[in-house]
Symmetry: C2
Subunit: 334 residues, 2 copies
């Protein structure tokens, strides 16, 4: 049984059936009763999206992430999903990859599907070239856009962030305080968040009057899960650089550095200190366990959903909230 | 602009607009042109779900998993999503948790939303008590149901599986061939897949005339990510059991066993051999790297999507396909 059958049997238009389903006042009591009788007689279950057609709401939130197999994203999706379901929202997840054209396509699709809001997971959704962020501004004209760990100023865009600058600054200071000043910084992304981390590392050095040496900031954009290629990358650098510590923008990279140290016979942390970022499960798999930055992902996810529910209930919500990360000290640092 | 406005301006019913949007033949050329003119004049973008209203199809697939933060599920979702998008399908992901009532709720929701099909990720969706599988049989009356690594006989249910029995049997034989016959088996789930693995372990012993000792099959149902609690669990067992190898139903458990061995000062693999399962990234983070069973998740995901597309195109597709896993030999075994 479809909405067309109900319309036919009740002798009313589809628009009227839709109005009844959506509880609109714009239907006479007699017509309403006729429609409800047919619905009851034929045990018709309305298509949830068909209901949404008239209401402009179907209690559905779109989630966009670049790659759901990335550990940070997977945990974010899990936490956001749990919180949304507690609040009776359903999620549509789209894994967009990193190309702007694909992201535009998905975001358009979700907006056209009349989702109530979208959540973009990760700062890679913001581009340096402001013209490329048009797709977000366009979406925000239609529905609230929430960004997890990205920073973007625009009406109807709400951001929850971890202060990646501060936590990397603190991690770098922690190493400098041990008397180690030759610190290799490894990163695998040029997202906003990744650039803030790099900037935290640089500021710690500058604040102590230490030189910024480009060769100590190595960009390694390979597959995030390929630990061997990180180790190989460091082996190739070997001989040209001397360093007593590695700070990495991601736990995967840090564990790749551990692989390199183990292959070379270096003792961790005696010969080499290593700090990762994300406090992922990987940081507890290695031996010694990895010192890492906990960027409060769970807190961020709870905040994003709380903000979203507030907006949808017409409450005034803050457009930007910044949380602080924390250095979790384990066996790879002195 | 909504479908209602198009209908009003073209002077036709909503059903007619929907028929035009869906490319139905049941509209006169003149009427079709009237509708298309309005759509063009007002630059109307149809709501994708509204289009689906008439077609019984909105090119959307529902994916259900218990927990998207579980590494196996996260990788499955990623691979399935990528393949579906190549075929122009959108996904709705629901993380259901493990309770039957929640699963029923989500599956009903998806069926009512007229998704084209659903994919259930993991064998935990099948219950031992056949009455509890009613929710799957009900859904299969409406739409094709695909199951990733679960086995269920029912019309309109299609399964793609890895032979977990055979791969665990082979892993156990690999250890037995090294002359080690005291093998602890660790598992953290009682899903169909988990029981098949346990059964593979048991069969290997039985085939060699070795005794099945219940105390050598330990069920540890804690949080899959909590490595410390696995290590603590083994510490508590210590003294009561002697074993030269651990085979675990999941890489997390195997790495927990490595933590225990390291704490106790055992050398891996000299004093203790360890085999995990899933060939997850965790298996490459630890030192030595973990010998583990690769249960061909990517192949399974590709197969599931290929089957789904075939069914939706009215091709005859096999209801059950079983793939073989492979033991990846690394540093934790002799």
């Amino acid at each position: 049984m479809t909405i067309y059958d109900v319309s036919e049997k009740a002798g009313v238009s589809i628009a009227t059936v839709s109005r009844v389903l959506n509880g609109s006042d714009n239907v006479s009591p007699q017509t309403r009763q006729k429609v409800l009788d047919v619905i009851e007689a034929y045990d018709y279950t309305p298509n949830v999206f068909a209901c949404g057609l008239g209401l402009n709401s179907m209690n559905t939130i779109g989630i966009l992430c670049a790659d759901a197999s990335d550990l940070y994203s997977a945990n974010a999706i899990y936490n956001i999903e749990q919180e949304l379901h507690k609040n009776n929202y359903t999620c549509i997840l789209c894994c967009t990859g990193y190309k702007l054209a694909d992201r535009q396509k998905y975001l358009n699709l979700l907006v056209n599907q009349k989702v109530d809001s979208v959540i973009l997971v990760g700062s890679t959704f913001i581009y340096d070239n402001e013209a490329e962020n048009e797709y977000i501004r366009e979406a925000a004209k239609e529905i609230p856009v929430l960004m997890l760990n990205a920073d973007y100023d625009c009406e109807n865009v709400y951001c929850g962030l971890c202060d990646d600058f501060k936590s990397t600054l603190q991690a770098t200071n922690f190493i400098l305080d041990k008397g180690i000043s030759d610190i290799l910084y490894l990163y695998n992304s040029k997202s906003y968040s990744a650039m803030r981390k790099l900037s935290g590392y640089q500021s710690a050095l500058v604040q102590r009057g230490l030189p910024l040496r480009m060769e100590y900031m190595q960009y390694f954009p390979g597959n995030h899960a390929d630990l061997t290629s990180v180790a190989d990358f460091l082996s190739e650098l070997d001989g040209t650089l001397r360093y007593g510590a590695v700070i990495a923008g991601d736990d995967n990279l840090a564990i790749g550095a551990m692989k390199f140290a183990q292959k070379k016979g270096l003792s961790i942390p005696r010969d080499l200190s290593i700090i990762g970022c994300n406090n992922s499960i990987l940081s507890r798999c290695c031996e010694p366990e990895l010192t890492t930055i906990d960027n409060c992902l769970e807190t961020l996810c709870h905040h994003i959903v709380k903000t979203l529910i507030g907006i949808l209930n017409n409450s005034e919500m803050p457009q930007k909230v910044i949380f602080s990360g924390e250095l979790i000290k384990r066996g790879t640092t002195l």
